[in-house]
Amino acid sequence: MTTTTGPVATRRLILQGAASVAMLGLGNLPFAATPARAAANDKYPEEAFKQKNEADAIKALYGKTAEPSDKVKLDAPEIAENGGVVPVSVTTTLDKVTSISFFVAENPFALAASYKIADGTIPGVANRLKMAKTSNLVAIVEADGKLYSATKEVKVTVGGCGG
């Protein structure tokens, strides 16, 4: 009797093993699919960040030009003592805002940061940017498919690039 139970037990073990492997394989599939879909939705605008010139960067990011608007309020210091840390913020009274971007005209790469504003998020953002030297700072707000901008010159006494 003992000689016949041996092979039966191993065959059962092998079958069980195969079944659990199959289940694991199926379970993994949905997890693998999610990150790929998320990445496709919010693609990083690599090309826009490579543009040296402000106008080119705006074109690469949005594909159109902006018009100045007093509904975009850009808050930045007149004089920045340290160009490595310039506190900058933007608020706007415009409706249907979908994104807000910051450009520093004289930086090696003009586009500094771009924010996607979801429905229900207040159209305003505060952050800190590096500025190589005294330069125009431009904030662009995309609202209802149109671009609106505000510009302010910030004087930098010590640059943010090495120094």
């Binding site: 840390v85 940061a113 305003g124 800190r128 590096k130 090495g162």
Partner: protein
């Protein structure tokens, strides 16, 4: 390791205000070290805030964002006790994630 992300999310009824501070070198790739060698670019490219399964705020960053970046924004549609998930990825494939409770 302690998280590189520090977040404060406070709700005042309808609006939730979020402040985040991240520890990151944000090297531009244009600065030389004392030995005269270029320090390679190392910066956060994307920072995401997710609340109740929705991306409320997505930041795409270049090298011109300051070292140890700070960002502040507000959004509607969340209440006290909700989870806010924050995650970033950098140009070298590094990333970090944390979850904060809205207070």
């Amino acid at each position: 390791m302690a998280s590189s992300i520090r977040v404060r999310a406070t709700s005042n009824g309808d609006i939730t205000e979020v402040q985040a501070l991240i520890q990151h070198p944000m090297d531009t790739g244009l600065v030389k070290n004392p030995a005269g060698e270029l320090i390679p670019a190392h910066y956060i490219q994307q920072l995401k805030f997710e609340c109740n399964g929705k991306d409320v705020f997505v930041a795409d960053w270049g090298t011109a964002v300051s070292k140890d970046p700070y960002v502040k924004f507000s959004f509607k549609g969340a209440k006290k006790g909700d989870d806010l998930k924050i995650s970033w990825t950098d140009n070298k494939g590094g990333s970090d994630t944390t979850t904060a409770k809205i207070a």
